[in-house]
């Protein structure tokens, strides 16, 4: 493995345990200047831990890191930065009250005698923003950025250190496809200047396009190393999950029977961005909401679920006026899950408590009915394919399993309508396939209605009976299955002129 030139970074025999979890198990690898290395693996495979060790955030239990052939021991991210290793973490932290420029150079502001040199800062910031292809004013407050812009700023923050090794930990997870593709040329330019880049992603096509070689991890071990030409999606899936699992689109003859009635109806629905949306959703239907970031996808879901107040228009659910709070929504049979796990789960609580929180009042007025809780949980765990100890803290679960716990919460409540924002964001391919299967089964067998938003046209094409594609807060086009993912992409950009 060690032929060729001296590696920039060599990792030897790293081990790291968190409690009983062996997050890194004897991991060794070399990173050379000028290469982009893709790192893949299911959630919980140890990718993030490995990257955090390299970036000085986590100290390994054993093993060595060599930089230019000499052993280094990082006691903090600052040490790693000093050695030229910068990481753009999965969860980003921008100081919302400060400007984009301040955020880009935070901890490293140009200045003299403690006074920041504003002009130099702005010039440097403009350079970095051009590098990441972001057209915002360097003096704009970071808090006013959209999620996509903020993500790119955090990539820029790592770039601003001019790192010899840049680690991007799932930079594209929150990015729509058309923005994510810009990251490819960016990392390539960096590599051409002699840096090494580690690119962590679940999106295998990005890995294929961007990376010179691929390292796959599973259960804390490296399970494979592929050269660019060997890295087919099939082989990569095999390495991260053990068995190749490709999803088949649902057979088309099982189209939804529209006679079953409208479950959710919106007329002239308006919010902050969302304007004048009409929508009828039928029982047992899976309706997708597509569109670019900032098109109003997520807001439409919040308005439908009663989580955000409408500014005009009506929502009806099961023939009654729609909910105005999440509490009313739960009572009306609407289960809403926000994007990602941050607003979904209770970190210090057990898996069981997380799953049953919305159903407790159904089974008791004052006391938590523990016996029934166990029984409910056992049933639902089979339904959503969740294995493991119900008393374990929720954080010990992988992202995919956490998402299943979120779904279990509304299944226990027997919600007739599931309103799901990005139900598979940041989840590995297997968990994603399982969640897709679950949603299909629910729609078919229990007539559960699903309204879901996704940034990935492929997911919408694979899963949905119908997709509304939004542009600038309005429904631009409605696509009925079967349709190609490209049709969603095409409909996401230009507003079709509406005929009055």
């Amino acid at each position: 493995m060690a032929d060729g030139p001296e590696p920039l970074v060599r990792v030897e025999g790293l081990n790291k345990s968190f409690g009983a979890v062996h997050a890194l198990n004897d991991v060794s690898l070399d990173l050379h200047p000028g290469e982009v290395v893709g790192l893949i693996g299911a959630n919980g495979a140890g990718k993030s831990t490995l990257m955090k060790v390299l970036a000085g955030e986590v100290r390994p239990d054993s093993g060595r890191i060599l930089l230019d052939g000499a052993e280094v021991r990082f006691r903090s991210p600052r040490d790693a930065l000093g050695a030229g290793i910068a990481m753009c973490p999965q969860e980003m932290y921008l100081v919302e009250e400060q400007s984009v420029a301040d955020n880009l150079f935070i901890g490293d502001l140009p200045g003299r005698g403690g006074v920041v040199r504003g002009r130099e800062l702005r010039r440097n910031a403009a350079e970095i923003l051009a590098e990441v292809g972001l057209e915002v004013d360097p003096l704009q407050q970071a808090g006013t950025l959209t999620a996509v812009e903020a993500r790119l700023v955090s990539v820029g923050e790592a770039l601003s250190k001019h790192p010899r090794l840049l680690i991007l930990d799932e930079p594209s997870a929150a990015l729509p496809t058309e923005v994510a593709t810009r990251l490819g040329p960016l990392v390539r330019r960096l590599a051409e200047r002699g840096s090494a880049v580690v690119y962590v992603s679940h999106r295998l096509h990005e890995i294929r396009e961007f990376c010179d070689r691929v390292i796959a991890m599973r259960d804390g071990k490296i399970t494979g190393r592929l050269r660019h030409e060997e890295a087919t999606e099939e082989r990569m899936i095999k390495l991260v999950g053990g068995k190749a699992l490709t999803e088949e689109p649902p057979p088309q003859e099982e189209a939804v029977d529209l006679d079953r009635g409208v479950v959710m109806r919106a007329r002239g629905l308006c919010g902050q961005k969302v304007t004048d949306v009409d929508l009828d959703v039928y029982a047992g239907e899976i309706v997708g909401i597509g569109g670019l970031y900032g098109s109003g996808r997520s807001e439409l879901l919040r308005l439908l679920a009663g989580v955000q107040g409408t500014t005009a228009g009506q929502v009806e659910v099961f023939g009654k006026p729609g909910p105005r709070t999440p509490n009313q929504g739960a009572k009306a049979g609407v289960g809403y899950l926000p994007e990602g796990r941050g607003q979904m789960l209770f970190p210090q609580m057990s898996v069981a408590a997380n799953a049953t929180i919305s159903v407790l009042r159904r089974h008791g007025r004052v006391l938590v009915h523990y016996g029934r809780e166990r029984k409910l949980l056992k049933g639902i765990a089979e339904d959503v394919r969740l294995v493991g100890d119900p008393d374990a803290p929720i954080q010990t679960l992988s992202g995919g399993n956490q998402q299943k716990v979120g779904l279990a919460r509304w299944l226990l409540r027997e919600a007739g309508v599931l309103v799901l924002d990005e139900p598979t964001v940041g989840i590995d391919v297997h968990a994603r396939a399982e969640i897709h299967q679950l949603l299909r089964r629910l729609a078919k067998e229990k007539q559960t209605t699903v309204v879901m938003a996704s940034a990935e046209p492929e997911e919408l094409a694979l899963l949905c009976d119908r997709v509304l594609v939004m542009v600038e807060g309005r429904v631009n086009r409605e696509l009925k299955a079967p349709f190609e993912a490209d049709a969603v992409v095409a409909a996401s950009y230009v507003a079709t002129p509406t005929v009055a």
Binding site: A330, P338, P347, M349, I357, L360, L367
Partner: protein, 319 residues
């Protein structure tokens, strides 16, 4: 692997360190003052001293569990005590009415705090700081500028005067309150939802939990605890004096934060809080028995809190 063994023994130590510390402290005082400290008489007085702190601290724990803060309870203790004594001295009412008045004032004060916190959505820190100032001001005003009121009925002093099987009644009240709130947080839906709100209030809202109602409930529980404390303090001293709540501000917080580290719970819990309150009372009593001045106890209690917070942060990093 020796590395793993070490961290396991470290974890075990962290789990029991506060209890070990408690035992060591007790042993130390007993060695230094063998005739005074390890006697039933002394232990009884420690328990009696800790009763008001225990009641306030477990009430405060319920509020802390929901992720909120309360700084108004010391002021409210004073106000509830004034009103209780006034119902007897000015209105000639019996002890039962005085008790009801104190509990009512506590409950009302708690609900006001809860409603303001729940629906203003400003920081509970600032809101309750303001309320605390209002309550102590009103208490001063009612007494005509800080006079001591000493007219209480015999029935009222009997509330704390007697003992059952040698255990002072105040201790029994504290035990009952602690058990009730332990059960409230552990076994009720309210308790589960309170933990959920404290853990992630956005997620709690989206899961359909009614945040406002639960928050008001938590502050109301603390309010009732405040009322009970006011009764115990004014009954025991047979009067209301403006300094009635002195020394009751910091200890409940110390007890609650101490409680996070008991058995490495990592979160606020009633059992830990009770241990924390007893720890503080033992420390204070021990120092008095040794003849140290009152300020020494303040310095030591504050230092203990800092050490606990530091060790808890370490434990979280290791876990």
């Amino acid at each position: 692997m020796p590395v793993l063994d070490l961290s396991r023994s470290q974890r075990e130590f962290i789990k029991y360190m506060t209890l070990i510390g408690f035992a060591v402290m007790f042993g130390l005082f007993s060695l230094l003052e063998p005739d005074v400290f390890p006697t039933w008489r002394n232990i009884r007085s420690i328990l009696e001293l800790s009763a008001p702190i225990v009641i306030l601290a477990v009430g405060l724990t319920v509020v802390l569990v929901t992720g909120e803060f309360d700084l108004s309870f010391p002021g409210l203790v004073g106000l509830a005590a004034v009103i209780a004594v006034k119902t007897m001295s000015d209105a000639d009412q019996p002890a039962a009415v005085a008790v009801a008045a104190a509990l009512g004032v506590g409950l009302a004060g708690g609900i006001i705090a809860g409603v303001l916190v729940a629906f203003q959505r400003a920081s509970s820190f600032i809101i309750t700081l303001a309320l605390g100032s209002i309550w102590s001001g009103v208490a001063l005003g009612v007494t005509g500028g800080g006079l001591t009121l000493a007219t209480v009925t015999v029935g009222y002093t009997n509330i704390t005067f007697k003992s059952v099987f040698g255990i002072p009644l105040a201790v029994i009240y504290a035990l009952v309150v602690a058990l009730a709130l332990f059960a409230l947080l552990r076994w009720t839906i309210f308790g589960r939802e309170a933990h959920a709100i404290g853990s992630n209030s956005d997620a709690a809202r989206l899961a359909g939990i009614r945040l406002g109602l639960t928050r008001v409930g938590a502050f109301a529980v603390l309010g009732v605890c405040v009322g009970i404390t006011a009764v115990i303090l004014s009954s025991r001293s047979g009067q209301y004096s403006p300094d009635i709540a002195t020394g009751l501000f910091i200890p409940p917080f110390v007890a609650a934060f101490f409680g996070m580290s008991v058995l490495a719970a990592g979160r606020f819990n009633v059992f830990g809080t009770v241990v924390g309150a007893l720890f503080i009372a033992t420390l204070q009593t021990g120092l008095i028995v040794l003849g140290s001045e009152a300020w020494v106890a303040d310095v030591i209690v504050g230092s203990v809190l800092l050490v606990i917070l530091f060790l808890a942060a370490q434990a979280r990093q290791k876990a």
